[in-house]
Amino acid sequence: MGNKGLDIGTNMLVAASVDEEDNIIFKMQRDAFYRISPKSEVNKNSIRMGLEKRNANFIVEGHDFIVVGEDALDIAIERNDTAQRPLQRGILSPKDKSSLPMLKLIIESLVGKGSSGDKVVYSVPAKPIDTTFDIVYHTEMMGMYLKQMGYDSQPINEGFAIALSELLDDGLTGICLSYGAGMTNVVVIHQGDPLVEFSMTKSGDFIDQSVGNALDMPASFVQKEKEAGVDLIKPSNQIMEAISVYYSAVVNYTFDNIAYELKKRKKELPLFRDPVPIVVSGGLTLANGFEDKVKQAVSKLDFPFTVGEVRRAEFPMKAVANGCLLAAQL
């Protein structure tokens, strides 16, 4: 099967592997599930037929169907309900055991069973600066599950994985940000040496919930609207305007904290000879005008180096998995 990279995100699971011709290939699955409990045997058969007709991925547990992936989100919205997610804010919760079997199945469907010597490098968030949860439990549990699937597993910081994927032509020097659903991960790296690493709980879910609260609508609906495409510079309606406002809040919050952390470590920082590029990645960065929001935020701040170009990762949804795969090949 070979070595693999695995991005374990709150909203999306992405696996990267190599085919026979050494080309990188990806597999993606929405990190969500939705349980349907049939009311009768007839109802059970009709539900099953319906799921098979729309090619949905599902798990049968006794009489229940657990729809996983993108269809879980769609069916939940169709039923005016909310899909469940195995991860909250980027990590497994020790209190939520019920979603662990589904998460394991989704991961196994992405990476398959490993054979002796196969390695999986998987992403974990950095230590958060605005909450108190412990990432050790998440890291150890994911490592244990991957081991059960037959792999030697190794965790890697999410921001560092982006740096491996996107900063090869910059000598592994730059600022990498992963704007996911649950968390924003940040790394400031100099010649392969991570200087500042941290995560924040304000990201995609924060925007969905804030807009939902402001406009009195379900957060999952806002999420779908957001993922259908957002123009942050010219928002087309009230929802988009609200989304744009909270996007700005999240981006400013991120860069204010980066500037703050760099200022704290000013005396320890090395000399950056060239302008430092900023690479943004993750689902949030797919919005049109995201780089402009970043440029606006950066222009108001004072960094201890010259900021270079602001660019989006080549494949924003796959950069972390790609970096994990590269790390697995070393």
């Binding site: 290939i25 992936g69 090869l168 040496d193 590269l326």
Partner: protein, 236 residues
Amino acid sequence: MKYNKELGSDYTIKKDGRVLKPTGPRAMQMKAALKAQESETVRILREQVKELMEIVSESKSANVVPKGYSADEVDKEINKAVELAIVETEKKSKETITDLEEELKYVKEEFRKYRNKYNDERIKELENNVTSLRVKLEAKEEIIESLKSATGSTNISELVESLKNKVDALANSTLDGEEFIDDPDRPKIEMKFVDPLDATAESVLEPHVVIDEEKGVENGGNINHKVNKLKDILGK
């Protein structure tokens, strides 16, 4: 009061024609003092006159033109002597200038020597600085290597992460300002995580999950080129 030339200044002639001669004790004292002064003054003046007369007679004898020389010849000799004196003076001046030039040359030479010496010392000092910096750099590299071998890690990020974890562990272990001294040999608790899932829980699940590979333009390309680049940067 009239002055009578014949009587002298000692006598006073009153209006009625009486001639009064000062004969009192004060006048007698003054007269005696004046007499003593006059005699002394006269003696000194006489001696001076005598000296002057001697000088005059000597100069008279010196100004006499020697016999057999005319005044023009004397002038010529004087001019010759003056010219000779000028030549002598010029010669002496030239010698002095030459001496000064040699002295200046010597001073310049000394200055150049000192300047070179100073430059050499500066270069030597800079070389010493470079050497000490090189030694420090080597020591730093040794420390990094020893840290790497101590932690069993060759990856800088892992190393940094492990050091951070150690610092965090230290910070969490310190309570109420109590001093905590890390002893690397002290036995440590092994972190254990137990799978909260029931071992049979998964067996009742019947998965119907098929996830296709992503194809098309968003393929990541060939991996070998990227891995080689990464190895170059990380020095592997």
